[in-house]
Symmetry: C2
């Protein structure tokens, strides 16, 4: 009754029928699923035909016919690419945008329906985030971004909110040595965000200093992404970036209220050292020679 594999399989059954229900509601728009999928891919901003084909896993002949049927319906227009006339681009016509909006409305209504009948929607969403991150694990990408980009700011906001919850005395960003964004841009440093299908789920900053070392800052993994060993992947990426920048010594500070962080550092070659700054929050300090 409590066999883990049986629980996963119960989940599979539940989810298969929910997904099937969405598919049938799509059929209600009088178009086969294949054509609907292509239309939706285009609506979601994919325009390169080869890219869509690859994304949907379609044969080139089938893809060509599906495009033709959407064109005959007046929903899309295709044109050869200017820089390479072999490739084609597809885009929605006005009617296509209307039809795409109708599919979006169906998807949104289904999502809404699931949420609406649950009185603890936030718990349900957290569970969905956790599972989505676990299932798309191999597709999580680590991207270097500007520390002031939307993705980076979202991660930092979540990071500060979490420190506020975990520190007994709360957390006030303005009291911490807020790293100048400039120091986390190349060539002094960098900022790395982990993305799972458009959702940022983790980050780490590498901050250059003038003291002969660089600092690791703002290591954060979204609650939904914990257990995927993403913290380690982010640290590896930050260390690799540091090596690429010619940095040979790294330091970081952390707090004993974040035991999983301390454990990660200890298990990956970091050595505890005495306090090296007067920031009020950290009480643990580490160093690593690259």
């Amino acid at each position: 009754m409590l066999d883990p594999v049986a629980r996963v399989r119960r989940f599979n059954r539940a989810v298969t029928s929910a997904v099937g229900a969405l598919d049938s509601s799509f059929l209600g728009r009088g178009r086969p699923l294949g054509a609907a999928r292509v239309l939706n891919a285009i609506g979601h901003g994919r325009s390169d035909v080869a890219e869509i084909r690859d994304y949907l896993g379609l044969d080139s002949g089938l893809m060509s016919r599906l495009l033709r049927s959407l064109e005959d319906e007046g929903l899309i227009e295709t044109a050869a690419r200017e820089d390479d006339a072999r490739r084609r681009m597809a885009k929605l016509t006005r009617a296509g945008r209307r039809e795409f909006a109708a599919y979006e409305a169906l998807s949104n209504a289904q999502a809404d329906g699931i949420l609406a009948q649950h009185s603890q929607a936030e718990a349900l969403l957290a569970a969905m985030d956790l599972i989505a991150s676990a299932l798309t694990r191999e597709r999580i990408s680590l991207d270097e971004v500007d520390p002031q980009s939307e993705e980076a700011r979202y991660c930092l906001g979540e990071y500060y909110a979490e420190l506020g919850r975990r520190f007994k005395q709360g957390f006030d960003v303005s009291l911490s040595r807020d790293p100048d964004a400039k120091d986390m841009r190349r060539p002094r440093g960098t900022f790395i965000v982990a993305m799972s299908d458009t959702l940022p789920i983790g980050c780490v900053g590498l901050k250059g200093t003038d003291h002969g070392y660089a600092e690791i800052k703002r290591l954060w993994v979204a609650p939904a992404a914990r257990g995927l060993r993403l913290g380690r992947r982010l640290m590896d990426a930050a260390e690799a970036a540091a090596r690429g920048l010619g940095i040979t010594l790294l330091r970081l500070d952390t707090n004993s209220a974040l035991p999983e962080a301390g454990q990660l550092y200890r298990s990956t070659g970091w050595r505890e050292i005495p306090r090296f700054n007067d920031d009020p929050y950290p009480d643990l300090f580490f160093e690593k020679q690259l």
Copy 2:
């Protein structure tokens, strides 16, 4: 970035591709999905042809042909039912059992694979339970069972474990007035279990007494099923059963460490009354006239 609907849809995408991957691994056994589904339904103990057809939503013509193709492969045998020769029963042959086991192995391997790459498998499983319960909400059935049945004993075990976690002083079943199972069987009372696709996710007991009232006992909802208003459904079912047994007055006791229970009682017509027993755990007592 945090729109709830967008989060549900990200979940949908993640799960669709995982389900699709399992389907393609099933195709690897050289049999179309339709036939594989029928074989698996039979392997999972469904033998009545009409029941399988209904479960899989198949047309009778299609069903007949799929059965024939499995028979031609030597995987199943069908026979008319003894009590009604119009109906047919299907069962696996030896080769069919082997083939079914191969499908089971694929399903189990997929489930294992998801779990294995996650270092916090219990959190992942809890999330899956939550979602499976939410998605199969309409298919949750309330069944009257014997209080000593496997399902009932599972629920009670979970219930006691939860009390142990929630009461500051812990919980020891032997100190509580353990209701005699006889008192929770018809005609004195009953025991109701909420089932979601073979998994018990909640229970409630109606216990007859000789004092002119019956008691509601052991109301429990699995953590994964909270938010589905299952507590209320269980209470409604228990009250309906009480009415059917000619009971006109109900009492129950609870503890202020379970605030959601107290709130449920207050909002459904229960009236707080003075202590009516000397059980050491409860500190809140309610009564309801039917």
